[in-house]
Symmetry: C2
Subunit: 335 residues, 2 copies
DNA sequence: CTGTTAGCGCATTCAG
DNA sequence: CTGAATGCGCTAACAG
């Protein structure tokens, strides 16, 4: 691989001039520039990212960190989000580094990535509440942004959608359709998003003087399987619920399968709702009534925050976007 | 951020000794090592990846390249594969770099990543046939592996599953159930996997003296939408097909939706099959009969090949794994 | 407008 | 077993 030195020799200039040309420095005679450019082309020269990074103390890489290996499986919402993020960041000259923290003995601390300067900063996707890693990063002043979540202990940048509003939107829709007894299936309660949705559920019941009933609640973990299990469990319990709120689409999809196996019709016998509006939600049978989170907005805001952080912004910024209700056919008016 | 120099001062040794300790060099007196380790801990020292990379001319990063932005959306199979890959590579000390080549004027050439030494090598996921990029990489001798595909022009490493076998497995199953008139929905025909499946379809028909009928074939692009469109189109054409082979699960899922809207029952009125066995396939209603590709095996082989390449292997290796038929309920015996 | 000097943090080579 | 010198490829700061 040719270096600036090789180019310099070929173009009969010093390697410093080459460096200037490469970096579009204005003070280079046009004719010299052309000559250098020609040599660069002929040699197939490319600047060495490591050398640049070493010198500039900046890699132009951002780490995208998922909390568990299985996580990406469970929530295709995050796949769509990652693609959007890659798009945003690449337009601004950054590359995306993929990281998964594993659970158990295989646990990998993402802060290493920035301490070793593999990346300039981190995007933490939905970290568990009270994640020591978050506080660690915050304490050390390392640049990071939480995407889909926040920290109650550390004061840091985060981007999220309004879970209270989203959950309320769904529940109001259900109430408007005449439902009073509504089951609830949570996501992984280690995450604040799951907690928020649950809390909102309780509050909305209370606001309508509907007693909270633990037996119509099921703790899921966002996965299709847990949605399936949730439906089966709630069905076995023979409660009188007429609708179930699932904390994400995947679980609602699992429930559709479970309903089929249990010979219950959706929405004739029971209404169900999802959350996220993943791509597949509108193709399900029945199409899922759900809440859409603004992917583009989330990605753009996240890119903004992390890059702002890297360029020295100190004061934490919190961005909360509005979700939107998508009414389709998995919920119907109660008879 | 402290450097080896800072650690050296604190531990009263030269920075060279620090380097040795960091790299587990055996020839360091135990006592000295402890002292250095202590200083490292106290200072919170971490080796600088850029400096290391510059020196070693090796980044320990691998680029994972997807052909189009929309691609990951369309095939959740690749998400599952990516997670597996990250797992494999991280165990061997490598990090994964995410790259998407865009189409149109926003096209980004992935070879830049290795020329600029951001990564040591590339994993190309399902590149289009005759991709100039592949030949380019091959010509320049840059380390790369094709995952799910191959090159007819360039002689290079690739990992794939046996598309001929996979397609045959499905078709034999369909024939055994009595189907003779079988529709075909292709993936994106720019990709060799899509072509192989189509070719196999034609060959299997020919082997049974069933005439090939263009009107029961639809060109899809792997997406849910195209599966939906495919079903509608084939249905409108009023052919006498009793089964449809979809080149992946996503499209079959779209077809289930389309069938529902057109009041046709699966599998009572028509049998359909998928391909890939994505997570959701077994939860669909009806559960999809499909072909399972060995994710772990693909990921392990890919990791093997690219790392082998990096450590100097010259002769191209081609690995083709066997798929497995998953019989569920979307195909039934013809009356 | 162009070249020289120096140093980013680390590891290889060679001395002691 | 440890240290000193040297260079990886690049750029900022300072000459000329």
């Amino acid at each position: 691989m040719p270096s600036q030195h090789d180019v310099a020799v070929r173009a009969n200039v010093s390697f410093m001039t080459v460096s200037r040309v490469v970096n579009n420095h204005p003070r280079v005679k046009k004719e010299t520039r052309e000559r250098v450019l020609k040599a660069i082309r002929e040699l197939g020269y490319y600047p060495d990212a490591s050398a640049r990074a070493l010198n500039a103390r900046k890699t132009n890489n951002i780490g995208l960190i998922f909390p568990r290996k299985e996580y990406v499986f469970s929530r295709s919402f995050y796949v769509e989000l990652s693609v959007e993020l890659e798009d945003q960041l690449s337009h601004r000259g950054y590359h995306l580094f993929l990281g998964m923290t594993k659970t158990g003995d295989d646990y990998r601390d993402p802060s290493h990535l920035v301490k070793e300067r593999k990346v300039d900063g981190l995007i933490l996707v939905a970290p568990p509440t009270g994640d020591p890693e978050v506080e660690h990063l915050n304490r050390e002043g390392l640049p990071f942004v939480i995407l889909h979540g926040r920290s109650d202990t550390a004061d840091c940048d985060y981007v999220d959608t309004d879970n209270v509003l989203g959950t309320t939107l769904i529940l109001e829709h259900l109430f408007a359709l005449g439902h009073r007894r509504i089951g609830f299936v949570s996501g992984n309660m280690a995450e604040i998003n799951a907690q928020d949705r649950f809390d909102t559920y309780r509050n909305e019941l209370k606001a309508r003087d509907i007693p909270f009933d633990r037996s119509v609640v099921y703790r899921g973990d966002w996965s299709i399987e847990s949605g399936y299990d949730a439906f089966c469990a709630l069905h076995r319990r023979k409660t009188d619920i007429t609708a179930i709120f699932f904390s994400n689409d995947q679980m609602a999809l699992g429930a559709i399968r479970a309903a089929y196996e249990n010979n219950v019709l959706i929405p004739e016998d029971i209404s169900i709702s999802g959350y996220d509006d993943i791509k597949y939600a509108s193709f399900a049978v029945p199409a899922l009534t759900t809440v859409r989170q603004p992917l583009d907005g989330l990605a753009a805001a996240t890119a903004d925050l992390i890059l702002g952080r890297l360029s020295g912004n100190q004061s934490p910024r919190k961005i909360v976007l509005k979700p939107e209700l998508k009414i389709r056919s998995s919920c119907r008016r109660i008879r």
